[in-house]
């Protein structure tokens, strides 16, 4: 017994934690089983789930139509005393009919722009399917009961106890037929009021939310167990850092300004060229002739030439002059590739070349400025960063 209680407590607690904590937005946490599912981010999964949802929708629409035809048979329903309650339930079911058919129409054009399948979307789709499935079962159950009662097997009489429990738990209302008993004696412009009980599910729901408020405030502000936003943020950052390191170590891609060597193979230089065109050309020219930023084709360097200095300048940038720190967007290997490519530009004499800036650089020669952000040339311009 205690065991079951324990499990129950744990389940409730973890559900609660999931609700209140930043779980959804935290970086991938491998230890949680519902994260990092391989298939969840595949496009085929998306199409499968969307297809399933559409299929369920069609089924629901068809069944709702069946329901409607049963309900609209007025003669049958006039004879049934219990018609009112059933009718209201059915109405609610019917109200969803237009909504779901419109959703079917809306869903297909919507998916057109979708190329990004994320885990969040996966879980949304799973939820949608779950809700649709529940709706389908509800309709099936309804039809079953309706057919039963139409055949003459009165459901409410067949299971009176069950009915009472449900009615009691759900609304504790006095039936419409006996509403005279609870009619208040006042009226306003012809409007009268009943004095029905507060629906028990409503009251309990209200109590639950109040209890939630108490637990929430206690958890975060009295016991201090919950992470407030900055603590949560620090954890997130640490997690991100560890993941990044683990990845780089695994991929053998740990290059930095001290260990970097220039690539000479065409394949890697081509990649560097591509990176150059995408990110650097806007300021430094398509052929490295310079523009807002300095010329790469001469032998003068503002922040030092050679693979190590170039790597460093690209990586950390020169924020004071508008050169972005690219380490936030390029991998160490990409920086290595593009720096190697830049080295190959020397002496290419491109058209419209900008005047030389900085100091003449020869390998092992002139001492480069140690600090990338130290002011060197007065003619330095603010290069334009193209990227947001």
């Amino acid at each position: 017994m205690n065991h079951i209680k324990n499990i129950f407590q744990k389940a409730v607690l973890s559900a609660f934690m999931f609700l209140v904590s930043g779980n959804l937005i935290a970086a991938e946490t491998p230890q949680v089983p519902w994260r990092n599912l391989k298939f969840a981010t595949e496009t085929s999964t998306f199409w499968f789930l969307t297809g399933l949802a559409l299929f369920l929708l069609v089924l629901i629409i068809v069944l709702a139509g069946v329901l409607k035809s049963i309900v609209s048979n007025k003669d049958l329903w006039l004879k049934k005393a219990s018609g009112n309650k059933a009718a209201s339930v059915i109405f609610i079911a019917l109200m969803t009919l237009p909504a779901s058919s419109a959703f079917a129409q809306a869903a297909s054009p919507e998916s057109a722009p979708l190329v990004v399948m994320t885990e969040d979307i996966f879980w949304v789709l799973v939820t949608v399917n779950f809700v649709l499935l529940s709706l389908l079962f509800a309709i099936l159950l309804l039809i079953k009961n309706l057919l039963k009662s139409l055949k003459g097997e009165d459901v409410s009489e067949a299971a009176p106890v069950k009915q009472d429990i449900w009615a009691g738990a759900l609304n504790a209302a006095v039936p419409v037929e006996r509403e005279g008993e609870i009619m208040m004696d006042h009226e306003y412009d012809g409007i009268r009021e009943l004095d029905n009980n507060l629906p028990p599910w409503w009251i309990w729901g209200f109590y639950f939310t109040i209890a939630f408020a108490g637990v929430y405030l206690t958890y975060y502000h009295i016991t201090g167990k919950g992470d407030l936003m900055i603590a949560e943020y620090n954890k997130q950052m640490e997690e991100g850092r560890l993941q990044k390191e683990a990845y780089l170590a695994k991929a053998g891609a740990k290059v930095d300004e001290n260990t970097v060597v220039a690539f000479t193979e065409a394949a890697q230089l081509d990649k560097g060229k591509e990176t150059f065109k995408t990110y650097c050309a806007a300021c430094h020219g398509q052929a490295g002739e310079g523009g807002v930023g300095p010329n790469f084709a001469d032998e003068y360097w503002i922040h030092g030439g050679g693979i190590k200095n170039i790597f460093k300048t690209v990586k950390y940038g020169v924020p004071a002059k508008g050169m972005i720190a690219w380490e936030a967007q390029l991998t160490p290997v990409q920086i290595q590739e593009v720096s190697s490519y830049i080295l190959t530009l020397k002496g290419t004499n491109p058209a419209n070349a900008k005047e030389p800036q900085g100091e003449l650089w020869s390998e092992g020669g002139a001492v480069p400025a140690a600090q990338p952000d130290s002011a060197v040339a007065d003619s330095a311009k603010s290069p334009v960063a193209v990227n947001q």
Binding site: L19, V20, G22, I25, A27, A87, S88, F91, M95, P98, A99, A102, A106, P109, E110, P113, L114, V116, T118, D120, I121, A173, E179, M183, D185, Y188, D189, I191, E193, L194, D195, N196, N197, L198, P199, W202, G205, T209, I210, A213, Y216, L217, Y220, H221, M229, Y233, Q236, G240, K244, Y247, A253, G322, A328, S382, P383, V384, A385, V386, N387, Q388
Partner: protein, 723 residues
């Protein structure tokens, strides 16, 4: 039961019936105004929706850019469409529920024409860029004063009518009207504390975090007490009236009314989750929002279950159909709202289109459809005829319902897609979509679909307009509807078994005062500590007031409504700090009158944009955004490059700022323009280096100065610390 009957019979015999009439004319005027402004407001809505798909629709014209007319849309639909809808419904139902004509016809007319004048003033000033920038409170101080006066006229007229009533007890609808009146008055006055600089420019009295808290206490409760409580009152009158059914539960009315107005006022901080607002205030916002589910649903239950035994009529009567879907939308929106107040969900929805979807389910569904239902009921009734075409009303119903679906679903989808892209990291630890623009272009088809939804909804309104015009032509209007009722007896004997709540239902003044107390508690507990307790907003030594040029630039930022698309609030998430830089701190905003955190990121956050790009980038980007980021949906602002900056206002602005606590030295206003000119020259020199010829006295220079300052103070602090 028996006893009561005899009592009423006796009353009937002894009481003289008084003859009087209901003022229908004022109801008709408000009904027409509702229609007119509904169409105007929604048309502007459709235009701004289309601008996000086709930026060319900004027309390269200052007065029609998104940033200026988005507030026009929100103000028009909230205060013009729904506002007139409230007056229409209240003026109709109040007279009948009290068995009394409105106290003073002149006041009714002042209420009507005053309100329309305010709307016209808004429609003129907002495109002109005269705005305080505070959402749903954008109107400048002279209009704020006019709003307060007209609102008091409305309240006075309502209260005097209540006092002169021929009905002993106040029906639940009137409780809601009273709470609405007093709360809106409090919200409007407190949030509109501002320091005038000139006739059409003022600075919020509050700064930064405090301003944000007061603003969202107001903003959230504008939804609560302008879009919700008065409409619940209308629901309580019109649903039982149209369906001819008794209200489901009087007891539920009492409990949900008091719970709703007490709890609602606390929920404002849920608009500021994960911002620089202190954690404790955020948590209060969350838990009070969760506790709001039941009281909100109490209204839904009472509305829907009043239709028990009348569901067969719902199928046939289009008016009831509108009502039922309106209440259903209310139920959905009031469940979704609390869910969005949970931290983990809010992290997703905040700043994305999810929020837009959420508010439109409420606005289009609850307010729109309920208003339409009331119009379809009232017009034929007042014109003594039948509705011209039930079929057209049905068509309208389906257009509106489909419109809502086509509006909301793409927006939900857009919110999820964009958040998914924002937060995605590559295994190398980089943002998967470092360019914000990528996440915007992805949404364009969804924006198009949303516009289609809006178009459907708006076309439905035109169908209604036709139907109503036809109905009006066929009928004959009854200006003054004759009625009779006995006068209220001087003394009243409480009869046995009467509920305790009947006591306050006989006492409008006590009802007013008690409502005021109930709604004040939450606001006081949340707002006062942030003013009094220093630790709530830790100061940062290096944060300094804006220079005169930056201050002028900031006012241009406000004028152009940049805050409608750009936030200035970096939340403490890895995916935000990687993209934008260090998360925003409370101490950075202490001189921000008003705060400019924004609530939606159609473009990227700008809080740390200072120093990120060279001056020339901003110059070119504002002139032609496409040239700097291809595919952008941002409109161009070419007029900034030619318009001369008005520096005659500098001294007044500096003085005003000092009055509300910004530490400019005494007398600085006299020399401020010298500093301004010097800084402008520096920027012009910078631009020259990039071969851009700019005049130092143009507005763009001031804007660049402001943008380059944004979020940089804290860096100075760091540099100092390192030294």
């Amino acid at each position: 039961m028996e006893k009561n009957k005899t009592r009423t019979n006796k009353t009937r015999i002894t009481m003289q019936l008084e003859k009087f009439s209901y003022d229908n004319k004022i109801v008709k005027m408000f009904a027409y105004a509702t229609l007119l402004w509904g169409i105007v407001g929604m048309t502007v809505g459709l235009l701004i929706a289309l601008q996000l798909v086709f930026p060319v629709l900004n027309f390269n014209f200052a007065y029609t850019t998104f940033g200026r007319i988005r507030p026009l849309h929100t103000n028009a639909v909230i205060f013009a469409f729904v506002g007139n809808g409230i007056f229409m419904g209240v003026y109709y139902s109040l007279q009948r529920l009290l068995k009394a004509r409105m106290w003073n016809d002149t006041l009714s007319k002042i209420n009507f024409w005053g309100w329309q004048l305010i709307i016209v003033a808004a429609a003129v000033t907002l495109p002109l860029g005269l705005t305080t920038s505070k959402e749903y409170a954008e109107l400048e101080w002279p209009i704020d004063i006019a709003i307060a006066l007209i609102w008091v006229v409305f309240g006075l007229n309502m209260f005097m009518t209540i006092i002169k009533r021929r009905e002993r007890h106040l029906y639940v609808a009137i409780w809601f009207y009273i709470a609405t009146f007093i709360t809106v008055a409090v919200l409007h006055i407190v949030n509109s504390f501002e320091m005038p600089v000139s006739l059409f420019k003022s600075y919020s009295f509050y700064a930064g975090v405090q301003d944000a808290l007061v603003q969202w206490w107001y903003g959230h409760n504008a939804v609560a007490f302008f879009l919700t409580t008065p409409y619940l009152g209308l629901m309580y009158y019109f649903i039982p009236k149209i369906a001819n059914r008794p209200v489901y539960s009087y007891r539920l009315s009492i409990v949900h009314f008091w719970a709703l107005i007490f709890l609602y006022i606390w929920a404002g901080p849920h608009h500021l989750l994960y911002t620089a607002l202190p954690d404790w205030a955020q948590s209060l916002g969350t838990v009070f929002s969760i506790m709001l589910i039941a009281p909100s649903w109490g209204g839904m239950i009472n509305g829907l279950l009043t239709l028990r035994g009348a569901w067969d009529r719902v199928r046939e009567n289009p008016v009831l159909k509108f009502m039922v879907v309106a209440i259903t939308c209310y139920g959905m929106a009031t469940f979704e709202g609390p869910m969005l107040s949970l931290k983990s969900v809010n992290a997703i929805s905040h700043f994305t289109d999810w929020t837009i979807a959420h508010v439109h389910v409420g606005a289009l569904g609850w307010n729109g459809l309920l208003t339409f239902g009331i119009l379809y009921f009232l017009i034929p009734k007042m014109f003594n005829t039948k509705l011209y075409s039930e079929k057209l009303a049905n068509t309208h119903f389906w257009l509106a319902t489909l419109g809502i679906i086509f509006y909301a679903l793409p927006m939900y989808w857009a919110g999820l897609v964009q958040f998914g892209m924002w937060r995605q990291f590559t295994p190398e630890g980089f943002l998967a979509y470092p360019n914000f623009l990528e996440t915007v272009t992805q949404l364009k088809p969804l924006y198009a679909l949303r516009s289609f939804g809006g178009l459907l909804y708006l076309s439905g309104v035109f169908v209604m307009l036709y139907n109503i015009v036809k109905t009006v032509k066929a009928g004959s209007f009854v200006d003054n509807e004759a009625a009779e009722a006995p006068a209220l007896a001087k003394d009243y004997t409480v009869h046995a078994g009467e509920g305790w709540h009947r006591w306050i239902e006989r006492r409008p003044i006590q009802m007013l005062v008690f409502s005021l107390i109930v709604i004040s508690i939450g606001g006081l507990i949340e707002i006062v500590p942030t003013f009094l307790i220093k630790s709530n907003i830790p100061t940062i030594a290096s944060v300094k007031p804006y220079t005169p040029l930056e201050l002028q630039g900031r006012d241009i930022y406000i004028r152009e409504g940049c805050n409608n698309c750009h936030s200035q609030m970096i939340r403490p998430f890895r995916f935000e700090t990687e993209r934008y830089g260090e998360y925003s701190k409370a101490g950075e905003f202490v001189y921000d009158h008003p705060f400019l955190w924004g609530s939606k990121r159609t473009g990227p956050d700008l809080h740390r944009t200072g120093g990120k790009y060279p001056d020339s980038w901003h110059y070119n980007h504002m002139l032609d955004p496409e040239s700097m980021s291809a595919g952008t949906i941002m409109p161009a602002y070419p007029w900034l490059h030619t318009a001369e900056l008005d520096i005659t206002s500098t001294a007044a602005k500096i003085s005003a700022m000092r009055t509300i606590g910004v530490p400019y030295p005494e007398g600085y206003e006299n020399i401020a323009n010298e500093d301004l000119a010097y800084q402008a020259d520096q920027i012009v020199k910078n631009l020259e280096k990039d071969k851009i010829q700019a005049l130092p006295n143009t507005e763009i220079i001031a804007l660049i100065a402001y943008l380059q300052r944004l979020g940089t103070d804290i860096k100075a602090d760091k540099a100092q610390a390192q030294k």
